[in-house]
């Protein structure tokens, strides 16, 4: 293939091979190209220990284990390996075993699930909560559960794939508004007054670390009495707001959010998703969200651990405060290196490199060889003109680790950008 590097996963979706179990022939050719392989070498590198701020990976570049400072895992509060969480999970495992052995509607709901759902509803100050076995399943479930053909899902163009897939599954029509462009949003709402509408935004946009312009978005939606707002607080729950309830709390607009989604895989340190809203729609959702009613309830030790994680994260603000201290310190150091951090306002910090895939991967190799686990993010996950690295800051990072990381970033990334 002569220009393997200009192709991406965006180019092989359609498949003309007569056998459905054969990928497209040019996909094979592309995949086997040494340049493609080098890029894909960054994927699925195995972690050999917990996703802590310093950990060990099986480096595909060197073909052997390598100790690294970890800037990639979204273990924002380090709760996945908190001793109290581990203890609670062990006790849950001993009491209930590994699996729930049933769908939630039938036999899968344990007292643990009911307790945790209640805790989450109270925490988010909504009437009720429904649990899902993953965040993605939660978003599929909400959209498929409440939207119908003929409805309109209006999303910020940077909303997560799971929301878009949920929209597709629902049969509703989707309209994207330009990122945070409230005028564009207003135009779409204005043109569709006859439709049932849900407006979807993220609390923290996962590739950019910026926030929705919620005050303006709410103001516009308020002009339309039946338009409801959904927020995906995957990266903001336990992090934003005086009590950690998320970006809606941070803006003081929680009562304007009709339906609030969160994932249990990021700051919670486990796995799963949850949705909080009024009790009536949650009850309805339980009947129509397939990822809830036709899927086994989440694993008991995980739920036991998550109950403890929520307790720890909300009994005081120690972890959250530490995360913000680290975020500010890290960001300041990166700004001193004159790097393009986009509009980040959170613990998700992109380092935007530009349009050169070659440069991105050259930097990525160097960064990893120097002992930093910081993955490149390429098109189509981000626009081809703003390929980047993405840092997930953790409260567990020490000042020393951040300093070391910044030195590597300076050598491998900042200096190359200056040369350009």
């Amino acid at each position: 293939m002569k220009n393997a590097l200009s192709f991406s996963l965006a180019d092989f979706f359609f498949n003309d091979s007569p056998d459905v179990l054969s990928p497209p022939s040019d996909f094979e050719e592309w995949m086997n190209d040494p340049r493609t392989q080098e890029c894909f070498g960054f994927f699925e590198q195995q972690l050999l220990s917990a996703p802590k701020s310093s950990t060990e990976i099986l480096s595909n570049l060197e073909g052997k284990p390598k100790k690294v400072i970890n800037l990639t895992s979204y273990n924002y509060l380090g709760l996945s390996f908190h001793p109290e969480v581990i203890q609670a999970a062990i006790e849950g495992l001993q009491k209930y075993g590994l699996g729930a052995s049933g769908a939630p509607l039938l036999s899968g709901t344990l007292d643990l699930h009911a307790k945790f759902a209640r805790m989450l509803a109270d925490f988010k100050q909504k009437e009720d909560c429904i649990l899902f076995s993953s965040g993605l399943a939660g978003n599929l479930g909400i959209m498929q559960g409440i939207l119908r053909k003929g409805d309109l899902l209006v999303l910020d163009e940077k909303c997560h794939k799971s929301v878009i897939d949920g929209g597709t599954l629902s049969g509703a029509r989707m309209q994207f508004f330009d990122h945070n462009d409230t005028e564009h949003l207003a135009q779409i709402l204005d043109k569709n007054k006859d439709k049932r509408i849900l407006v979807a935004v993220d609390g923290v946009y996962s590739m950019d670390g910026d926030l929705p312009n919620l005050p303006e978005i709410v103001k516009i939606c308020d002009l339309f009495p039946d338009v409801r707002i959904y927020i995906d607080e995957a990266h903001s729950t336990l992090i934003f707001g005086a009590n950690g309830r998320g970006v809606a709390e941070y803006f003081g607009l929680e009562d304007k959010i009709g339906i609030s989604f969160g994932t249990l895989s990021k700051s919670f340190g486990g796995v799963g998703g949850f949705v909080c809203s009024n009790a009536k729609i949650i009850r309805y959702l339980k009947g129509y969200a397939s990822s809830y009613s036709f899927s086994c309830a989440s694993s008991p030790p995980v739920v036991a651990g998550l109950i403890k994680a929520l307790e720890i994260a909300t009994r005081d603000s120690t972890l959250r405060d530490k995360l913000w201290e680290n975020t500010h310190y890290f960001k300041k150091n990166l700004q001193d290196l004159k790097l393009d951090l986009g509009n980040t306002e959170s613990q998700v910090i992109p380092i935007i490199i530009g349009s050169s895939g070659e440069l991105l991967f050259e930097m990525a190799r160097d960064v990893q060889k120097k002992g930093l686990f910081l993955l490149p993010i390429d098109f189509p996950a981000v626009p081809a003109t703003s390929r980047r690295f993405r840092i997930s800051v953790s409260s567990q990072l020490t000042k020393d680790e951040i300093d070391k990381a910044c030195n590597i970033i300076e050598d491998s990334i900042a200096k190359r950008l200056k040369k350009k």
């Binding site: 192709f7 965006a10 359609f14 003309d16 878009i164 081809a384 003109t385």
Partner: protein
């Protein structure tokens, strides 16, 4: 292959993928977005058209394109 032939294929795919639109309405100096296409629709139209025309252009090269006419020009560059 001529530009006219390419435009015909693109228009056909627009009609197949977008609701409530008439062939005579389509102005090639406009963007598909002007006809209510969302980004998923646009990917669908572009991919179906490329398939039909038997050309393959990396999506990264299509980022700067704004109008249906520009898309046709790009296709023409890559057509045999």
């Amino acid at each position: 292959m001529t530009k006219e032939e390419i435009i015909k294929v693109i228009k056909k795919n627009i009609l197949e993928n977008l609701e409530e639109i008439d062939e005579n309405e389509i102005d090639i100096n406009k963007s598909m977005k002007d006809y209510g296409a969302n980004s998923l629709d646009i990917i669908e139209v572009v991919s179906c058209s490329m398939r039909e025309l038997k050309i393959k252009i990396p999506r990264t090269e299509l980022a700067e394109i704004n109008t249906i006419g520009q898309l046709a020009d790009k296709f023409l560059e890559h057509a045999e």
